[in-house]
């Protein structure tokens, strides 16, 4: 009896491995085909977009008195290293009327002192409306030399809280959230406001593309020369960002179900954000949560609205260069995704929420949440099959085909999108490296990210909420020493 039973167990194991492997193949095929569809949609949109902006009338928008003024909100927590440079570059933005509101969110370093010194700030008794509830505001500072700069000093309440305080005190109908450590291209505001000018009634939020600053030369808070990072890890992220933004978000935006606008750079209509109660501090990613909230609210109101992604405005941000910081960052992102999903699961498969309920959220459920498990187990099971001696040649080839090569194709396709549209990386060597890393991205990096997501899932279950602090190196230190002019 005993040997027979053992054979049965062995048999069962083999059969389940084989069945699972077939499922994995099917999964990869489905996943990559969804990506392919998104890519095709994006391809058309990018071509259309480039044709439209081919003759730019930004100069016209710049001069127009009808262009809406913008409040730029910069939440800052312990940003003493870069905050002054960031502001100097923001003040140089090419735009008609704008104000900058820095929110010092209970920094324990010299953030506030540096600001006071650099811009000759004075405490003022400015009056404002407390539309959203926030942690206590300790003081409001204004600058005598820069009239459109305001600094709020408040007790620590987290990024969402800081942004809400900024919303309270900002004066204009549109606000733009900006990370204190990122660099905004000087024409980015003009580009990102254009959708609002085209559809003033229904436009609610516009997201811009985020690119990776590692490897670029930065001078006076401005990118002077674009290049790829030297280290491998950030280059992988460059490829990943290209794919995520150029063929992911554009596609979702066309399908009217863009769920993420990067906190590093997004423009919102203030009244709508206030209507949903501002930013929420119950999730780890306040940017995602806000957009989902806006969708849910507006769909419920049955209003005609638009939340779109514009591939052109550029915000440069620093990518983690070490595994550990990357892990922390992705852990936070994925946890945020899971938290928002848990808060809004009622929208899932609900036809009332249109494409979002029927397509976008199911996509997130299947490919973003369960996907990483299938991927990780899939690789494990293929390896198991090899050791069990049941990995046949056909299966292995099929696996390589749908899991790896299909992915390589999509990564290179994203590089193609970049090449036919914006071409930010001018050098041949950069192009060569981009393509090379597009291949390698699918042989390690993607699998690594899947592992990170699996870990994030368990962290989410354990309700661990930690700020995934990025451990900044400060990109300004990596750039060549700027030539100082006597001031």
């Amino acid at each position: 009896m005993m040997p027979l039973l053992a054979v049965n167990w062995h048999d069962l194991l083999l059969r389940s491995v084989v069945t699972f492997n077939e499922f994995v193949i099917f999964y990869f095929l489905a996943l990559n085909s969804v990506y392919l569809l998104l890519f095709i949609v994006s391809l058309f949109e990018v071509v259309r977009f480039v044709r439209r902006t081919f003759f730019s009338d930004y100069q016209q928008i710049l001069k127009s008195e009808m262009t809406w003024p913008i409040s730029i909100l910069v939440p800052a927590h312990n940003e003493e290293r870069g905050i002054v440079d960031t502001l100097r570059s923001l003040l140089q933005l090419n735009y008609g009327e704008f104000e900058i509101v820095v929110v010092n969110d209970g920094s324990t370093d010299a953030t506030l002192e540096r600001l006071i010194k650099a811009f000759d700030l004075r405490k003022t008794d400015r009056i404002y409306r407390r539309t959203l509830d926030t942690a206590r505001v300790r003081g409001i500072y204004a600058s005598l030399e820069v009239p459109n700069l305001t600094v709020i000093d408040k007790e620590k309440g987290g990024k969402s809280d800081a942004l809400n305080a900024g919303i309270n005190i900002s004066r204009y109908p549109l606000f733009c959230s900006v990370d204190a450590d990122s660099v905004i291209e000087e024409n980015a505001l003009l580009r990102v406001v254009k959708p609002f000018m085209e559809h003033p009634e229904d436009m609610v939020a516009v997201g811009g593309i985020v690119r990776i600053i590692n490897g670029c030369e930065v001078r006076d808070g401005r990118v002077t020369k674009i290049g790829l990072p030297r280290k491998a890890l950030p280059v992988f992220q460059v490829v990943e960002y290209l794919r995520a933004f150029l063929s992911g978000r554009i596609g979702w935006s066309v399908l009217r179900s863009l769920l993420i606008i990067s906190g590093a750079f997004g423009l919102y209509k203030k009244s709508d954000v206030i209507a949903v109660g501002g930013y929420d501090s119950h999730t780890d990613t306040e940017d995602l949560e806000l957009v989902v909230k806006l969708h849910e609210h507006l769909k419920r109101q049955k209003s005609r609205y638009r939340i779109v992604f514009v591939p052109d405005p550029v915000c440069w941000t620093e990518a983690p260069e070490r595994f550990k910081t990357l892990l922390l960052q992705r852990n936070r992102w994925h946890r945020g995704l899971l938290q928002s999903f848990a808060r809004h699961w009622r929208m899932l498969f609900n036809p009332r929420y249109g494409v979002i309920g029927i397509l976008a959220l199911p996509y997130f459920l299947v490919f973003e949440m369960m996907g990483p498990f299938v991927e990780v187990l899939g690789y494990a099971s293929v390896i198991a099959a090899y050791f069990l001696g049941i990995l046949n040649r056909e299966f292995f080839l099929l696996f390589v085909l749908v899991a790896i090569l299909y992915g390589v194709f999509l990564s290179i396709a994203a590089v193609l999108l970049e090449e036919i549209s914006f071409r930010r990386y001018p050098g041949w060597d950069d192009l060569a490296r981009l393509i090379w890393y597009s291949v390698w991205e699918n042989l390690g990096f993607r699998q690594l990210l899947a592992l990170f997501k699996v870990k994030a899932f368990f962290d989410f279950i354990r309700r661990r909420r930690r700020w995934g602090d990025m451990g900044h190196r400060g990109f300004r230190e990596t750039a060549p020493v700027p030539t100082q002019i006597p001031r």
């Binding site: 100069q59 001069k63 140089q92 090419n94 000087e186 001078r219 006076d220 401005r222 002019i485 001031r487």
Partner: protein, 126 residues
């Protein structure tokens, strides 16, 4: 007599080339600066007899360069003509307040610009 030296500071190369050709044909010696920082540095180095200054430029805007030049003893006397698409009253007033000699709104009339340049150079010679 040496030809008068004119520094043209504008981030648009087409405008720089146009003005350079226009004025070089009339016997002036032209220097060009593509951004605010270089404009400032070249003004200090070249000590031009006249400077044409754009307002919207990378690194430092025109007003910044203007006020900096007017606060230094070595460069205070350089006459500066602002050339800009900005045509609002406040901006023009600000330009003159900071010490500009003249303010030309783009689009501009090329022959008019030549006359203004000539006039200001004559005045500062005497």
């Amino acid at each position: 007599m040496n030809p008068s030296r004119i520094l043209v500071a504008d981030d648009d190369p087409t405008i720089r080339r146009f003005i350079a050709t226009l004025l070089a044909d009339r016997g002036y010696e032209i220097h060009e600066a593509p951004d605010g920082e270089q404009a400032y540095r070249m003004a200090e180095m070249v000590k031009p007899d006249l400077m044409l200054l754009d307002l919207i430029m990378p690194f430092r805007d025109g007003f910044d360069v203007l006020s900096e030049l007017k606060s230094q003893d070595t460069t205070r006397r350089i006459p500066i003509i602002i050339m800009s698409v900005k045509d609002r009253e406040e901006e023009i007033v600000k330009g003159f307040t900071l010490g500009a000699e003249d303010y030309v709104v783009k689009p501009f009339n090329s022959l008019e610009l030549v006359s203004r340049v000539r006039k200001i150079l004559e005045r500062s010679r005497s």
